[in-house]
Amino acid sequence: MKTFFKLLPSLFIPMVLVFAFVIGYKGLEERDVIISKIEKATKNVDHSKFEELKKEFATPQEMTEACLKCHNQRGPEIMQTAHWQWLSPDSIGGGKVDMLGKRNVLNNFCVGINSNEKLCSSCHIGFGWSDKSFDFSNQNNIDCIVCHDNTGKYHKKKGNAGYPEPDVDLNYVAQNVGPTTNNNCSNCHAKGGGGNNVKHGDLDIEMNDADICTREVDVHMSKKGADLNCSQCHITSHHQIRGTGPMTNSFTKHNDVNRATCTECHTDKPHIKPVLNDHYNKVACQTCHIPRYAKINKTQVYWDWSTAGLRDGESYKDVSEDGMKKEDSGHGTALYAKNLKPEYKWWNGKTGQTTLATKIDPTDTIDLNPLYGDYNDLDSKIYPFKIMRGKQPYDTKNNTFVQMRTFGPKGSGAFWSDFDWDASIRYGMEYAGFPYSGKFDFADTRSYWPVNHMVSPANEALTCTDCHSQTGVLAGLDDFYLPGRDVNNILDWIGKLFVLFAAIGVIIHSTLRMLAKKKGYK
């Protein structure tokens, strides 16, 4: 005890001080302030007072004409947007700039819109897009109300070229327009692929429901959370809305056009702990902060068109008990999943695209929008993705994908009415102006859907060992050294053997010493 006190000032206290630093020091705090959020748009004009909106509209186009009488600069402005054109200038992988979009790019849900416009345009901000003859230059064809309806009474009729349901009171909705609400956006963006949450998986119409959308579902959109509107992040100027989807539009970190990013509000040093901010350049915010998606409703993860068609001349329909597997003659096999873990990929924001002209190698699974970037690419980060897998028809002779007509009346060649693959492909390809050899088969495809919504509260974010462990979520992303996950087995074994030999040597030597002592050997 005396020795202990004697050694206190020269040995123990200095050592305790050193370790107090080692355990206590967390690094210099470098968090940046969060900038204040964009204010919600407010309704500051009472449109019900305008005489122009009280007269009877024979067609929806007349309603639009009335809107544009006052908003006389908005027509040309809207006609330049991707919402209207379903095309935007895009450079695939940073190469030549083309006009790409829903009009010509293929996916592995319903494949494409060519020859199916009458159905697909239920989500177009226009009236009357039923086929190629649609006049994109007529501003009266713009559907203002679909984005500015504040009544909830406006609905487009399914399969009717974007026209509203006949029972919609056009005067009522026109007199009650206002800023875009979450409902306006989600009516299309949550329902892509033919149903709620089917396509993206992170966009669910029930995210607008105050009770269902808890903070755990989406911290930004929850009424108990930040209570943000879509347009508070997807900031809009002259009807150009920030936040283009990468399925149909690519971008680079240095040529970032039209993106909505986390850092606009949160900065690139949002964490108190520097060790977390250090991840900024290699790990996207979404990767840790969206540990799961499809939190409310299921999303589709697999679509096999090859099982579609008649069985023994009869149409069929099977739905599994839990609703997670659907099979029918019109669509083939569909698998759904809920509360999914994203898959993780290096990505620099650039994607490729696939059109009817793209030559493919059908022996391998084809990435419809291949992601560019890898660990060695300084612009790349790890992003979370929903990966949609499926099988879709391709021309076995031309080695291109094919477009089939799905939607149409009986006898038109539409697959969903006639269940005739050859006829539907022949119609679709001729319509789109691409050759079809008459021979087709089904190829495996993948498409990548970045998961950006359904951000979880901070306490539910991934933790270190979710990635930094051998069984972590990045187990498949193995093109780089990740501490805690990767070891060099040979060096590790040599090192362990060295330690083992040292220990064995010590045991043998000490045993011999003890034996020698017992014997009293001199």
């Binding site: 020795t3 630093f21 060790v275 060695n376 270190c464 590790d492 010590v506």
Partner: protein, 364 residues
């Protein structure tokens, strides 16, 4: 059994802090490596970095300190007794043979330790620090955005860690090979090591010898004069007299020569005045030479006759002799000669003064 002071406070502070930091680095490092879970991954990363920086500061300061204090000499590698040390661990230790080397404050390490610790200081630890810094601040400091791959630097760092763990195991075990099983560890804590009487004697003797040498080394400097002056003063105080140098100064000034010859007739001492007269440059030319040196042949008998007379007890108050200088010149001087007696009164030699008279001879 005796206790000898081996490790000073800084030795011990440095050793235990470094040991604790390295063990802590191993634990947190293995957690980052994915081998075990103790602190939580995030804490393991933060602690590992903090401990690494603490260790770097400690090591840099200790190296500075080693050079300042001269402690670096402990690490000079040597092959002397290396085989004895190895043989001791292989066979001697089982036969209770004595340690082939002695542990003292000034040579703490045996040849094996010197080699091992120098290897640690010059190779393993620098490699670990360099690879660790590269790991965190260059390759994986992910803000850096470097396209270089992290794996090889991480593998090197991990491998070095295994080497260090192996070292620690053997190092801890070898502490039990001291005089008793715990004597080395106790010494590293308290500074005092238990050892056999023989080893302790050696260590203490070496300690005294080193101190003595240090004091001697100090005396070569200006302190020497000061010390002698003080001693003289001390003697004066004790014996109550003041020494007067005026006689010596007068002798030096007038150039009178002094000589002392032993009973064999050989020069035992001469002063500068004597050397000047005989045109000698160094006293070695004269010392232990017979008195027949520097004489003409016919004068030798005269000189030897005078020597014999004085050795019999006679004192010659004045005489004159001819001398042959080293350069061959002839000179003359008068001299006195009286017997030198030891403490018992027995005549052991003769001594006297000489005054040059060559000028008078030339005039005459």
């Amino acid at each position: 059994m005796k206790k000898v002071y081996i490790y000073n406070k800084y030795n011990r502070f440095w050793h235990w802090t470094q040991a604790a930091l390295i063990l802590f680095l191993a634990l947190t490092g293995l957690e980052v490596h994915g081998t075990m879970q103790i602190f939580g991954y995030e804490n393991a990363v933060i602690y590992h970095n903090n401990a690494a920086w603490s260790l770097i500061v400690l090591i840099v300061f200790t190296i500075f300190w080693d050079f300042t204090i001269g402690e670096w000499k402990q690490y000079i590698p040597t092959l002397k007794l290396m085989t004895d040390q190895i043989n001791y661990y292989i066979t001697g230790i089982f036969k209770k043979a004595p340690h082939p080397t002695h542990k003292t404050k000034y040579t703490k390490f045996n040849p094996l330790q010197r080699m091992t610790y120098l290897g640690l200081k010059m190779l393993i630890i620098p490699v670990m620090i360099t690879s660790g810094l590269l790991y965190f601040y260059f390759f994986s400091n992910i803000n850096n955005g470097t396209p270089l791959s992290l794996d090889w630097i991480a593998h090197l760092h991990t491998f070095g860690a295994f080497i260090l763990v192996g070292f620690v195991i053997v190092h801890v075990y070898l502490t039990t090979t001291g005089h008793t099983v715990t004597s080395s560890i106790k010494a590293m804590i308290t500074g005092w090591e238990e050892m056999s009487d023989e080893d302790a004697k050696y260590a203490i003797e070496e300690g005294l010898q080193v101190k003595l040498n240090e004091m001697k080394a100090e005396l070569k400097t200006a302190q020497k004069d000061e010390l002698l002056d003080n001693a003289l003063k001390h003697v004066e105080e004790i014996f109550g007299f003041t020494h007067d140098f005026s006689l010596k100064k007068a002798v030096d000034k007038t150039g009178i020569g002094y000589f002392r010859i032993n009973k064999d007739g050989r020069y035992e001492e001469v002063n500068d005045g004597w050397l000047n007269m005989y045109k000698c440059t160094a006293i070695e030319d004269v010392l232990n030479k017979p008195i027949a040196l520097n004489r003409d042949r016919e004068d030798i008998d005269i000189v030897e006759n005078i020597f014999k007379r004085v050795m019999k007890g006679e004192t010659i108050q004045s005489g004159e002799v001819k001398r042959v200088c080293k350069t061959g010149e002839i000179g003359y001087h008068t001299f006195t000669a009286s017997p030198v007696r030891d403490s018992e009164g027995i005549i052991v030699g003769i001594e006297g003064f000489i005054i040059d008279t060559t000028q008078q001879h030339k005039i005459n």
